[in-house]
Subunit: 338 residues, 2 copies
């Protein structure tokens, strides 16, 4: 196998966005894939993860991870197949997960690369329920949300990659689970397919009134993916010693004005409640344990998976925007194609 | 001893304030003190505690404690002397603490009443460092802030009853302590008398710049008494796994517009930090342990006490406003007088 004839396709950060990413944000480049050196592997990327966190990586600000540099290939979680290896521990034909970015091929020195088994689960699962979103939901809910049997757990972005799993794990733990999602189709899916106890369609319902109805015993755990007004609404309904897990705030990521802070945060005082942020990477050492447990739940039919796969790496800028418009339904993934 | 000749002076809630309490909020009433029945005591109130929490008690909203009813004597922590007792366990001459309210005399059935020893500490201490503010600072810092030796602890309202003690306990625990207070006199006091490592005068300094200078290693624990912009400034400087104790938000209590939520709350996510509310009453069972430890620190000279005593129950409406104008310097207390 030679690499001579391979042409890479790459989406690079051209200019940091103010507000929503747009056509000016990205540059599409093509280039010949270089031949690999000793200590490197060549990966054909098959699936690219499209996640809300990407928006944060575009900002030139101190955060839990360095921003993507202008001119660099956009960072993204990926799964792919090794075409050629000069790196010990990896062979041609191996499937690997990692952060190869939004491109069709990657020449890697193995940093952050790990083997995955395509026979154990479909490849896209390794970007979703068994990947970063899955780990985020698992550790965020169990370690920080600390749900107890009989408690009420509310999750926003409930039809998304993280939210859907959070709700299902909360059900496994014996909680009453209420999902907040946009649109009747997603809400119906949460009830019918994922077994949520109640849902609130934030696009068509008053969220505070919906919470009052759906949470007659108040809210013990809120897993927040969206921030904004919904966080404020939930704060009015929390119980004593409630736990609010701050996983994300997708409603605020494209703000050009300051982030809307939660006006009702003094409910934390009244209710002796806590609000705590999480970052999935902190749990890296325990990923394998979590993935094994989640895979078991999938096999038992206790966790169902919904992926939203878009074909073609060329769609990346538009596909990313689907997240912020609430247009994805399940874990959003790009299938690179040939 | 008879009660026939005693006239009570009482401040009652006349009308719930919108924004700042004003002359229209209060009604001053005088009435003959009734004679006590079996199971009651008559208390001559000597000192009345004036606390930021009082503002919250005026709102007709669900909170950690019922609001004061319109027409009722204003709720307040008090210390006084029993003049007459028909209640087992209390005798004339006993000194007692409790919640007798803003009045000169109280006829009580003993609810919430507890004996105090005027020989162990001056009476006003039982409203401050050995009372509700002391317990708030002690349990809020130690149980929720969880300061560790060598960490940086920032406290706002640092020259107030709670803040001053929080800073001194943090020093005892081996922390670097930074106080935020208003005006050079208070700031100098924190350094010279209470042993703070650094101070920020929020009335005359840029708080964010001050924090950057005073906290070269970032902020591990923030004990917040004020909310508003200062909370937002501190959020920009917190460390990984920082703990923010929400004790109060005096800057927001008189708002007629919605409370300013912390715009920078996503710093909790970036830093995997937590923000947690506290209410002192949750620790009632452990008050005596805490009071004993604090009293020990006072005896050893490790904790210094600053009370701000205003003479005369007639001053109550104006004295209360001193809190919101930052005019108190130490624990604010009214000495009832004769």
């Amino acid at each position: 196998m030679t690499t001579e004839t391979l042409t890479n396709k790459q989406w690079r950060l051209k200019q940091r966005p103010v507000g929503e990413p747009s056509a000016e944000t990205w540059e599409f480049t093509q280039a010949e894939v270089p031949s690999i050196k000793d200590g490197q592997v060549l990966i054909k990327i098959e699936y690219i993860s499209v996640d809300p966190a990407m928006r944060g990586w575009l900002n030139d600000a101190k955060s839990y991870i360095a921003p993507v540099a202008v001119g660099d290939v956009m960072r993204a979680g990926t799964v792919g197949k090794i075409l050629e290896s000069k790196l010990e521990g990896f062979e041609a034909g191996d499937y690997v997960g990692g952060y190869s970015g939004v491109q069709a091929y990657d020449v890697s020195d193995g940093t952050g690369l790990y083997k995955i088994d395509p026979n154990l689960a479909p490849l896209p699962y390794y970007l979703g329920v068994l990947g970063m979103p899955g780990m985020t939901g698992y550790f965020g809910l169990l370690n920080t949300g600390e749900p107890k049997e009989g408690e009420t757990v509310v999750v926003s972005g409930a039809a998304g990659a993280v939210g859907g799993l959070v709700g299902q794990i909360a059900k496994i733990k014996g909680c009453r689970v209420v999902g907040i999602a946009g649109g009747p189709e997603k809400c119906q899916f949460l009830i019918d397919e994922l077994g949520f106890d109640a849902v609130i369609d934030y696009k068509n319902e008053n969220v505070k009134a919906g919470l009052q109805k759906a949470c007659p015993d108040g809210v013990d755990v809120y897993f927040d993916n969206v921030g904004g007004d919904i966080l404020d609404d939930v704060l009015t309904q929390i119980n004593l010693k409630a736990r609010i897990v701050i996983c994300g705030a997708i409603s605020q990521y494209n703000n050009t004005t300051p982030v809307k802070g939660p006006s009702n945060y003094l409910s934390l005082l009244v209710n002796r409640a806590r609000m705590e942020g999480i970052v999935v990477f902190d749990n890296a050492k325990e990923y394998s344990v979590a993935a094994k447990e989640i895979a078991g739940w999938i096999q038992e039919g206790k966790v169902k998976v919904k992926d939203h796969i878009v074909e073609g790496i060329d769609t990346f800028p538009d596909t990313l925007m689907m997240l912020f418009k609430g247009q994805n339904f399940g874990k959003l993934i790009i299938k690179v194609g040939d």
